[in-house]
Symmetry: C2
Subunit: 432 residues, 2 copies
């Protein structure tokens, strides 16, 4: 019966079997120390002489997969306080010696290009892999919180006949003898499912943007954490929901990923801090940026503006996050619910200097929506299916989407969002 | 404060506010009974005279969205045992009267084409919508069970540079100035993540098959419930895992979806029945089919064969499911681990007459894999990234995938798998 490295202490004095990867080898001739790594962590194994590397007599190589039997002995100097002694090794899979990237080094030694180029190997680095252990926890906590509030998970098609937002920025797919597109978001479908009677839905799925950006905040395929809910009054109901959601996600990560957060050196906002996230409208945001010395007229909130607003929030409210609501109509999609003064019931959440959420109340009246479609110069006839949702009784509703990779990036302080995608896709990269 | 329809009984004698859709109207002139439907269920509202349908004086229409204030009164004849009386209605969104499909009728009155053509409306039918409430529960229980066994959820790219399984059946995507493909499965990536040290991974994501089939068991985009785990010995470890998984999914559905299962009239196998699922090898399966009167030589297990084997399992083992393992090599992908007699360590699970799972142990040795790639006439050079996973120490491992829509179909007894996809994609259908 295999024992995980993290659990050998419970078997002190007994012989156990561990299985994992050879993380580090320290060969002192008469004695060899090997660190074996498995999904739980790692532990030290002591061999008399050099452990056999296989029938061909070659020496043990880093990253080879091994089965080790040994006796658990307390050793305060070993990782975890215990080690295996009188050990015997069986080689399960030999690793070639020419690793393109050392797995057991500080990953900051390698540039992003090398890390992504050799993704199959760089992901073995425990610190790099920890990004995705934490990301899996975000996904779990997101779904769990929403279910506790009566939300139903949906899975909707990523192949759409036409672009809902004007047709730019779409990847084209050859679908048998016609062209379709990869969905930029599940917007239409989550609204449809709200209206179909689920009222509160969420989706965790891929979204695609055929944008030529090459910035530390853009990828062309990302995981969108999408939410839509009925019977709201305004975008403030949605901001309330997002604050509850961030509170449970952050609390949950503190509980299950304490060591990862410590390794990355990024403590998360407390529940009190999340509750203190200020809400300012778009005009106030621009005024604040002028006050903070942005040069010239502030037309929109650019990346530097996002950083400045978060700095302001940290100084004034003790939390590096701020909701900006009430964008002008021309800056939001046609389906955004209008507010007074040519504004909208929309909002963004900026967190640690980066927009991680965009959302708002949506138009739920058929006539108002058709008018808006025409004002935006779009073709109502091409949106027949979408409009059915509103012709036959759609409740007031709204929603938002959080970019999973961006949230992960901002939680851990990653320099580039691509670091938070297992196999990122950008303009140049479609492998591995 | 809004109260859900299912909960009004707790407010007997009090005035409450409910919100939802007008499901049914019975106009008796002096009195009108309206059934209001929300995400929790429905309840009866009694109005004196005809409830106002809006400023234009038009009468109330089915599917309009309303807010109703009324006093909760016990009425044994009403749905749920309570109704609202002395009610006042506010119209939140009027539905046009020309519904393309009645929402409050038995859905079996409509053919599949009508149901899918008018998907935005047909999904409002409570029985149709219940398919997706149950499906959301399958997803929850799948993830929860695997997490409890140490699995980590992953999200991997659906855009791949080359086909891993020979390049047939792939949809082509125009990705900036090059061609890429929609992934048929996360096979490569889940193996990579096992090997990267997570050991046990699962993914819930879309998979694409550019196959021209038009059968009740095929769709071109589906949700694949994918699993991969390290340190297994053979495909039997995977069948053990799938039996544990089905047990917790079925038990969980019995707990959270009892009413849905009853409506569809399909009790699920008990834990004892799942434990009794027989395992037969491919030769035994063919022999059984010959014994059961299949005409001529049995070359492969076709849909009729799948039905016959499940009937046999039900007769002999009391459960309409059977694992068939040990397929011949030529019938399995190149990465399948070979077994004696030109067989493989592979398996399928047939449930109620349909294959819902396919899986097996994978080749984890680099040299063996390269040899297999060549035997299959594939190009090892094009699989450079994939092969890196094996060059540098990959543990013995295997996995399987369950088609979410097929599992839903077989649980509820749906005639066509398309009924279990919110917005199904087939050769002809890319809308809504």
């Amino acid at each position: 019966m295999r024992v995980l490295c993290a659990d050998i202490g419970a078997s002190a004095g007994q012989q156990v079997l561990i299985q994992g990867w050879v993380h580090r080898i320290r060969d002192l001739g008469k004695i060899t120390f090997v660190i074996v790594r498995d999904r739980s962590g790692s532990c030290q194994v002591v061999f008399d002489g050099r452990p056999g590397g296989g029938e061909d007599g070659a020496s043990l190589s880093h990253e080879s997969v091994v089965s080790v039997r040994g006796t658990v002995v307390r050793n305060a100097k070993a990782v975890g306080g215990f080690e295996l002694q009188e050990s015997a090794l069986e080689l399960l899979a030999r690793a070639d010696a020419d690793l393109p990237l050392a797995v057991n080094q500080d990953p900051s030694k390698y540039g992003l290009d090398a890390v992504l180029e050799h993704r199959m190997i760089s992901l073995r680095n425990p610190q790099i892999l920890s990004i995705f252990r934490l990301q899996a926890e975000i996904v779990r906590l997101f779904a769990q919180t929403l279910r506790s509030e009566g939300f139903t998970e949906i899975k909707t098609s990523k192949l759409i006949g036409t672009g809902t937002e004007g047709g730019t920025g779409l990847f084209e797919v050859q679908y048998f003898d016609r062209k379709v597109y990869l969905a930029q978001s599940p917007q239409l479908y989550k609204q449809a499912m709200v209206s179909a009677g689920l009222e509160r839905v969420f989706e965790i799925g891929m979204a695609y943007r055929a944008e030529k950006h090459d910035t530390p905040r853009h990828i062309n395929e990302y995981v969108s954490l999408d939410i839509e809910m009925a019977f709201i009054e305004s975008e403030h109901d949605l901001m309330d929901l997002e604050q509850r959601l961030l509170t449970t996600i952050f609390d949950g990560l503190r509980a299950s990923c304490a060591q990862i957060l410590e390794t990355w050196g990024r403590p998360l906002p407390s529940a009190e801090e999340v509750a203190a996230i200020p809400r300012i409208d778009h005009d106030q945001a621009k005024e604040l940026l002028r006050e903070r010395g942005s040069s010239g007229r502030v037309f929109e909130i650019n990346p530097e503006g996002e950083r400045q607003l978060c700095l302001w929030a940290e100084e004034q409210h003790g939390v590096p996050a701020v909701f900006v609501y009430g964008d002008p109509r021309r800056k939001r999609p046609f389906y955004t619910y209008p507010a007074a003064d040519n504004k909208t019931m929309s909002f963004d959440l900026l967190f640690r200097g980066l927009e991680i959420t965009t959302g708002g109340r949506r138009i739920n009246h058929h006539a108002m929506l058709v008018e808006s479609i025409e004002q935006f110069g779009l073709d109502a006839a091409a949106m027949f299916d979408y409009l059915q949702v509103f012709r036959f009784g759609c409740p007031p509703h709204g929603g938002f989407a959080i970019g999973l990779e961006r949230l992960t990036q901002q939680i851990l302080g990653l320099a580039n969002v691509k670091e938070a995608s297992l196999f990122p896709r950008d303009r140049r990269r479609v492998t591995p």
